[in-house]
Subunit: 231 residues, 2 copies
């Protein structure tokens, strides 16, 4: 029987590649997306399509109203999404697009689903190289999460601990795109933009900047329709 | 300015006492309850009343559909709530009322709220003495959670870590009741039962058994209307 895994799938480039990696190593993949009041909710339809295209065994969307708390440009329309940040600045400073404890909440809900399904692996497309400075994408956080899930679940204390798999953790965005291209990820379906303009990627938010540069460096054609030209 | 704290408030005896303790030490208390599809949802109305009665600064209910995952007698009506378990058995075995990763999910969402509010403490009524055998009420889990919250939040990595306070952790149920009685907790409002019968506590589930015995040992009158007599 195939090892069962839960895959956090936002509908973006990284998580789609992560799903493709899990499939490539033979996992039975159960994808999980979150409707958390994000302004880029269009990614949810992308997640559904990607789950089908990449052969997931099941797909679920959990509604979780983090927007009710506020505190992030991704959920609060009163806070603007920063545009045109330099890569140097991204590496130095946690931006206002940080959603308080988002990955902690998502991994926790995914742990609940994994335990219910008897899944022993949890895949997350976290990346510590070309990322926006979020603390909850870094290795110390992921290691700490593995420990807390072991201590706080029935499966964990009974000797069936959940493994956190972050296969993209040490890859550059270009390397992720090259890997996903080899595995047949339909990047045209993925959406990375935090602040789409009438369905088109803005081209200027951190996520667009990293994505554009990644395709360029990978030497792969970027299928994304951007609303603005590259600066 | 008073230290701000988020309090996980189920509407049960332990979390109500926990709120009273946080108030007694001068915290500005923001209570958080979860509508997770539990069969004993009547506790949510109790949580609201308790927040008002005990002077919370705010009260929130977050809807989170863990019932969609199944896997617990508390959320799946096809699984019966065990009745009449002995205390020895409770100490030995994790029961079917365990909700996969429940406290992990709740603490994570509470961490998100704490970060948004600038709260530096998170109170949970976890108890490792008179409890039902849940792994997510034990000290190793709470310590591991404090570490993961520090690693995975902006506040944590910037040197404002969240402290997990579990003031009832080492108290017997009787000691909790004596403490809460001194602090004026209106126990008549609290609800502990997992499986109420027409609004009355069943008297036989683990939670009722522990509650009944606690009031008896504390020498405090139990205000709970039970549907069955004590065995």
């Amino acid at each position: 029987m195939a090892t069962r895994a839960v895959i956090l799938l936002s509908g973006g480039l990284d998580s789609a590649t992560c799903l493709a990696v899990a499939r490539a190593v033979g996992r039975e993949c159960h994808t999980l997306s979150f409707d958390y009041g994000q302004r880029h909710r269009g990614e949810l339809a992308r997640a559904r399509k990607l789950s089908a295209a990449l052969g997931a065994a099941s797909h679920r969307v959990v509604k979780l109203d983090l927007a009710a708390f506020g505190g992030s440009a991704l959920t609060d329309r009163a806070i603007a999404v920063p545009k045109g940040r330099s890569l140097a600045r991204m590496a130095k400073e946690i931006p206002v697009t940080y959603v308080p404890a988002r990955n902690l909440v998502m991994l926790s809900v995914a742990t609940a689903l994994a335990e219910t399904l008897g899944a022993t692996e949890l895949y997350i497309g976290a990346n510590a190289i070309d990322y926006s400075g979020y603390p909850d994408c870094r290795p110390p956080f992921l290691r700490a999460f593995e420990r807390v899930a072991r201590a706080g679940t029935k499966a964990g204390v009974e000797g069936r601990p959940l493994r956190i798999r972050a296969p993209l953790l040490r890859l550059s965005k270009a390397a992720i795109i090259r890997l996903g291209t080899r595995l047949g990820v339909p990047y045209g379906i993925t959406q990375s933009c935090y602040d789409p303009i009438r369905g088109r990627a803005c081209g200027l938010c951190d996520s667009c900047v990293l994505r554009r540069r990644g395709f360029e460096e990978a030497g792969v054609e970027d299928p994304t329709p951007y609303a603005t030209r590259k600066r």
